[in-house]
Symmetry: C2
Subunit: 133 residues, 2 copies
């Protein structure tokens, strides 16, 4: 697992929305301004979040985004997988992105990687957006 700005930006945006006291939708312009995120880039990431059911959106004036489910139902693991792929250090020990890699032959080394994968996976599956609010 390696985080890129995609995951990192998305966490800032989701947390911003989750913390917001306002009832309605939060426009991206506000989030981008407050968190200093590149607006047009964020638009794409927000769409991905909508399509995957984490956010719901409303167009037009008074539009924006809000959480489509409670913060405690959104795990850190899901978001990272969605934007930056496997949590595992190598795909040969990944559950969701499995494929054979050169390391696959070395069973002991693979075991070490598997343990890391299990730890990381467990830590991130059990941590939700609500936990980091």
């Amino acid at each position: 697992m390696k985080l890129t700005t995609r995951s990192e930006y998305v966490f800032l945006a989701i947390l911003s929305i989750a913390r917001s006291k306002e009832k309605g939708y939060i426009p991206l312009s506000k989030i981008a301004r407050e968190q200093k995120l590149p607006m047009k880039y964020m638009e794409q990431l927000m769409q991905t979040l909508c399509r995957s059911g984490y956010l719901s959106s409303s167009r037009g004036k008074e539009g924006g985004y809000r959480l489509a489910k409670p913060a405690r139902k959104i795990t850190i693991a899901e978001i990272i997988r969605l934007f930056d792929g496997p949590l595992a250090p190598t795909e040969s020990v990944s559950t969701y992105f499995y494929r054979l890699t050169p390391l696959s032959r070395e069973k002991k080394l693979l075991g070490v990687m598997q343990e890391i994968r299990d730890y990381v996976s467990n830590a991130l599956e059990k941590t939700t957006i609500a936990d980091v609010l």
Copy 2:
């Protein structure tokens, strides 16, 4: 941390050398043939290992590579850092490759990443080539 073929190939090569019963130097041609690794690409990686003091080499006929220090003194962590950079999931919690990232603002999330970094680092620092032989 994310492994590329660089680290993975290098582990195969080092293990191959470490397992070899022969006294002298092992030529790369032999390793590349046995492990089916791209020879000219490996040359570059082997040089990096030499320059960093993990292997010593001899040119010419009967030349090749051998370990420059005992297998139990070479940690998995060192090799991965050398070829694939930080063990941490994001550089804002990396010791050797630290820099500020967007996530730096979110202290709780950063804490989660820090714990992962600590676990991975510890696991890989204490595991050596000798352990995975």
